[in-house]
Every structure is written in structure tokens, then in C-alpha cells.
Amino acid sequence: MQRYIEGRSQPFSWFLYILPALLVYLIFLAYPLFSSMLTSFMTGNHAQIQTFVGFDNYVRLFTEEELSTRYFSAFRNTVVFFAIHMLVQNVLGMLFANFLQNKHLKGRKFYQTIIFIPATLAIIVTGYLWKLILNPQWGAFNLILKALGSEHANFPWLGTPGVSLVVISLVSSWQWVGIPTMFFISALGNIPDELYEAAAISGASPWQVFTNIKLPLILPTVGVVSTLTFVNNFNAFDVVFAMENVNGAPDYSTDILGTFFYRTGIAGQHPIGIPDRGMGAAVATVTFVVLIIGVALIRRITVKRDEV
């Protein structure tokens, strides 16, 4: 009925309303994605990508010794990065949301405001701050450890392979905790009172309330948060850039897909700095495929059958 209410049915006119947004979206979001896939089938010098080489870039990426070692190592590191975000960032987010949902909590607004602050800062800022705090000689963290008499007081957190990746993941999780917190507060707020009352009557413990009422009902939000975390982590770059360098020091242990992509396709390896754009495009395309698969999987698990 709307069509007839608001003016004559003029699909063309309506289309003109959509057109500017559609054009920008097509040209700068959709097309580059597609073009990237095309570029991945080419190789060539510097700015001129000319020669068609089919799947050669992909084959090299997965089998050529130097490249594939780095690539799989970056992939593995990214998975670890993601796992830590899920376990720390999102679990904490859930925890805080549960706390903050209680209207009787004193200082609720205060805590909510504070929790969100890091998410408003640039990761460059926070990454560099934490680098200072974790400095083995002058950092707050190590000074506190020293005061407590710990023998790890001068431990090089960011200089030890293995440890540094965990540390960077934790800093990144610290940064973004506010976001899942807010999502979950919102979702929890939509659960009807009656369910809680029913649970109280049947004497359910808080844990039972959580697992039987809250979790199932906010599962779609868990899905959304997981998806966002997944997509962001597989493209993360800034935090490693800030806290280590684009090589993923030490010893490539903090090299994630984002930094690998930057080195391969955009900036090239120090010191000469000649990127391979075709290879970079291949890396980007593989990441895209991984993202699609991941998002589909998450949807499968978290979206209720009748809501699909």
C-alpha cells in the first residue's frame, strides 16, 4: 500500500535516491574486493601488474619455502590472537554485562563509562602506552613486580617469542572489552522480567539463571560479537605496528595476517621495500575466503533455526 500512498509508483525515482550510496559502495567497497581477486591472478613489476599467471601466486604462497613458512606462521599467530580475544575480551564482556545489568549496583554508570574508555582511544595510543608500561627497565608493570619481590621483575614481555603474542593479544583485548560489554548489556536488557521471576521462584542459582535463561536468549548477540571479533582480528595490524614492528618481532612471533599482508602487498620487506602486489592480493583473497567460512560457521552455531 505504501507504494501508492507516497507518490505514484516511480521505481526509477526511488532508485535515484539509492544511487549515490550504491555507487560509492560499489566503487570503493565491492569493486576493490572483486578486483583484488583478479589481481591475485597476476604478477608483475611494481605498479604495473600485467602478466597473467593463474593460480601461481596461491601455489607459491602455500608451498614456496620462505613464503609459506611465514604465511602459515602468521595464520597460526592470528588464530591464537583470536582465541585469546574470545577467551578474554568476550568473556570479560559477558561478565561485566552481567554485573552492570544489576540496577542496584552502586556506581553502575561510573563503571560503565570507565569500561568503555579504552575503546574510544586509538590502538596506536594504547599500544604504545602499554609498551611503556611493560618496559623491562622503567615500566610500571615491572616496577610493581619488583616491589612484590618477584623474580620476573625485568622480564622482557615484548621481547620473548610466544610471550609477546599473548601480551599483545591481551592488550588488544583490554582495549576492546567495552564493545562486547555494551552489546551484552543491551541484549540482556531485552530479556523479559517474568523469566527472572520464574527462575527466582524455582530457586535457581545465578549460574543456572545464566546458563539456562540468559545465554540461550542472547545467543544471536554472542554470534554477532564473535563475528565482529573474528573479522577484526583477522585484519588486525595497528596493535602489532605500535607494540612491535611490521615484521612481527621478535622472530616473527607476533606476525599476524594483517602485518604479513602489509609486508607482502603494500610496503615490501625492509630494507629494500619492493612489494609484490599480485601476491598481496592473493593473501587478501585467501583472508576473505577464510572470513566467509568463519562467519558462516558462527552463524550456524548461534542463530536460532527459526530466525535464519
Binding site: 507504494r3 526511488w14 560509492v24 563509562t113 611503556l132 555494551m182 543491551s186 585484519n235 587478501a284 562467519v295
Partner: protein, 282 residues
Amino acid sequence: MKTTAKHQSLGSAGRGITYLILTLWSLMVLFPVWTMVINSFKKRLDIYKDPFGLPSIWSFDSYLAVLKGHQFGRYFFNSILITVLSLALILLLGSLASYAIARWNSKLSRWLYAFMIAGMMIPIRIGSIPLLRMINEMGLMNSLFSLLPIYVAMGIPVAVLVLTQFIRDIPIEMTEAALIDGAKPRQIYYKIVLKLIQPAMASVAIYNLVPIWNDLWFPLIFINKESQKTVILGVTTLFGQYQTDWSRILAVLTLASLPILLLYLAMSRQFVEGLTAGAVKG
């Protein structure tokens, strides 16, 4: 609507733990920020001698140096300019498109809607290599405006998602009355719809504000000319490897964080609403 959750079964121990955890976390959040701010007021070598205490001599040297040299005023101006322009275009294009999609009932419009919001899940960085080429060919390399189409494209999916839903929720009666008076869709758009969807527009603006202002990636790969850099990129410019002045860096970091931080503290409720926009279907 929001519910009142009664968790009296927690007991005082449970409540104690709750406060403990929340307080600990608040310290974990405030402490780095505190460190950043107070050390920006110390002299360079003093920071190494005492990284946590309040400055024995409050030195404004770093702030003065930053604000006078290094073109930081320029960086700020650039960031503000590009952020405001991007947000304006996102809202303009997004609301126009959403209005049409919400009111135009057809297979094509539904398909366009699905097409445009699919972009939410696609990180625009993936297309960086073709984007580099395109920006280059458009002659925008090294220009602040190279960022504009990128940020707008980035913001459109969420804008369309949120605004379409919001417009759909506008009761027909409101626009019906106007139509009966002979108004055209364009007038309805300007006079009624735009006013009614302001809360949603604010959400969309805020949702995009933070990632646009804090973006490092695109300025890093597109811009090298000093006069065109944004604040966040300018911050990395100062991270010169040799002889870095900690106090100055922290002054820079503080200045770079201040705008959004202040905005957030002034409007925290809208921020939260904005940043969770489109995620949870109310």
C-alpha cells in the same frame, strides 16, 4: 523495554566480588591513561627516573613544542575536516538510500538492501591493493581527500541498516497526513523523516566517528605529504626511531586522544547507543 534484573540471590559475598572485579578493572583502565597524562608534563629524562609519580616540576615544554612545531595544528585540522565530511556524506547518502528502501516495496529494493548491508561484514582493508591503484589513478594519492570515498563506503552499510529500520518504524500516519496535503516524497524526506530519525542519525554518526578518527591504515598507505596527514598518522611520524622524546610523544598521544575522549565523556549514553546500533534488533 529494559528489565529490572533482580539478583538478590547473589548475597554479600557475591556483591563484594562484583565490586572488587569492577574496581580492579577500572584501575586497569585508568592507570595507563594516568601514566600517559602525567608523564607528558615531565621533562624527557625525568620520566626514566620516576615513571609514575606526579611531576616534580610541571613542564609544559612538550605541549608547547608539539603545538608550535611539527604541524600538529595541521594534523588536527585535517582529522576534523575529513571526519566531519565523511560523516556528513555517510548520513546524507545513507539516509536518502534508507528512505527509499524503507518506503519502496519491491524485490529490487529488498535485494539492494541485502547487498548494501552485506558490506558490514567485509573489512574494507582487504581491497587495499586495488584501492591503492584507484586512488593513484584518481590523482588523490598523498591527498587527505583520498580517505573520503573510503570512509564513506565504509560507513554506508551500517547507516543503511540502522536508518532503514528506523524509518520503517515511523508510523505511516505521520507521512500520510503530509501526502494528503499533496507533499512530494522529497519534501516528506526533508521536513519529516530527517527530523524524526535524528537519534538514529546520531547513532550512525557516533558508530563511524571512532573508527574514522582513529584510523591508521589508510592514512599510512595513502598519505605522505606532511600537510595532508591526520592526527593518528602524525603520531607515528613522531615515533622516529632515533632519539625519541618520551615526554613529547605522550603529549602528542594525550592531545590525539583528547577530542574523542572528551566527546565520549560528555555524551557517553549516546556513544554506547551508537556503538551498539544495528547489532541487537530491538
